[in-house]
Amino acid sequence: MDRKGAHHTDSVELAAALAANIDTAFLDLVHATQDDIFSGALRLTGNWADAEDVTQETYTKAYHALGQYTADRTKALHLREWLWTIAANLCRNRIRSRRRHPEAPLPATLQAKGPGPEQQAVAADELSLLAGHLLKLPWQMRLAVVLRHVVGLTYAEIAEALDRPLGTVKADVHRGLAHLRNNLEETQWTTN
């Protein structure tokens, strides 16, 4: 995830391909980025169905926007940052409308991987605990932590995607991690 150089080259090539022929290259764009968008949306909204909707909607919006852009504008796009500008807004809208029309949130199921069902269960428990704590973080902090450590964007990419100063993003990530660490320790304390 930290292969910044590789991502960058991919993104430039993909943007050029999109400018040349959107319908063939768009498929590659979805392929290359859908796991990122879905993972991020899942951890930001805490809801599987919302994450799926947000992912679909992100690409539909992106496709229609690209249809309006000139080839030069498309070529110059930073695709990952641009997609996350769209996706982050959609996630926030989802969360707001959920708050207005609450319904039971679906558990964000975790496909436990690795050995042994028991270890899996423990690992899955820990992860769902962590996912739960993420959802308790204030929005900007949650966004920064998820984009940095779940999705794997760089600070600079996050700053561009969210149109926030680099220093603020860094501070949000650090403070977010500190919150998570405290909360996790507290839970362990009470459960042990």
């Binding site: 993972s39 993420l134 779940v150």
Partner: protein, 279 residues
């Protein structure tokens, strides 16, 4: 601790569900989605866009269907886990009842004539047949029976628009575009039509049936014709013969060929005004 935390955060990643990509392709119109349904002819591939059902075919494999779709439209079709709920339920209803009903169809790119022929074919009830000439008359172009045949042969949504219910004026079933010609008979029989009896009638030169109690004549497969009891059934070779015998055409199946054009105007007026009685 920090490393463990960031490691755990990284393992909160989830691959996007398989439905995302097809949904995006379909919503953007880059590709149509498709699902499969069972039919009397075997597995049926049904493609759909945002506008409705776009393509129906029987195919041995998904690959051969996708290839045929691509040859036909120049765009991709991708397997969709599911259809939009409303479309799925109207598709199920159309298949169950044999009626196109309100099933949305994506007929973009077809000529107005082509679309009107398909809509007309969609009016023919399950288990009944009408001649090509009937469709030509009904779409207001009585001489276009051959063009009707071509339009139906190029029906992108066979079975759902039942072009198999349109047959030759001499009662023979004629050609069929979905698989082999024999499929036309299979479909009609699956709908309960006794094709042998129909073939025997046609073989004796019988094109129309009348009732000597009502003095109305019908196409032999019309649901009203099938109610005529043996003792009251009268056979006609053509509409002129029926009319010279004092019979009038059924308002349900509207057999063609014997009447002056004024009557068809009257017919459509009475339908519009709601005073329309089928028989």
């Amino acid at each position: 601790m920090d490393d463990k935390l960031t490691d755990s955060l990284r393992s909160l990643r989830q691959p996007a569900p398989g439905g995302v990509l097809p949904a995006v392709l379909i919503k953007t119109g880059i590709a149509d989605g498709y699902v499969t349904r069972s039919s009397p002819l075997g597995l049926l591939y049904v493609a759909f866009s945002e506008h409705g059902i776009s393509f129906v075919d029987i195919a041995g494999t998904a690959e051969s269907f996708e290839q045929r779709f691509r040859d036909h439209f120049g765009r991709r079709a991708c397997a969709a886990g599911s259809m939009p709920t409303e479309l799925a339920s109207s598709l199920a209803r159309a298949i169950d009842t044999g009626r196109t009903g309100s099933l949305p169809l994506d007929l973009r790119g077809l000529s107005a004539f082509h679309v009107s022929v398909l809509h007309k074919a969609a009016e023919i009830p399950s288990g009944e047949t009408r001649p090509y000439t009937w469709v030509a008359h009904e779409v207001g172009n009585p001489k276009a029976a051959r063009a009707v045949g071509r339009a139906l042969a190029a029906n992108p949504v066979p079975l759902l628009v039942p072009c198999h219910r349109v047959v030759r004026a001499d009662g023979r079933l004629g050609r069929y575009s979905l698989g082999e010609d024999a499929n036309k008979r299979r479909l009609l029989e699956a709908e309960g039509l006794d094709t042998n009896t129909q073939a025997q009638l046609a073989g004796r030169g019988v094109r129309l049936l009348g009732s000597d109690t009502t003095h109305i004549y019908c196409y032999p497969t019309c649901s009203y014709a099938r109610r005529i009891t043996d003792v009251h059934r009268v056979e006609f070779k053509n509409a002129r013969q029926a009319e010279t015998s004092g019979y009038r055409p059924c308002k349900n199946c509207r057999p063609k060929g014997g009447r002056s054009p004024e009557l068809s105007v009257q017919d459509s007026e009475s339908r519009v005004s709601g005073r329309y009685r089928a028989f």
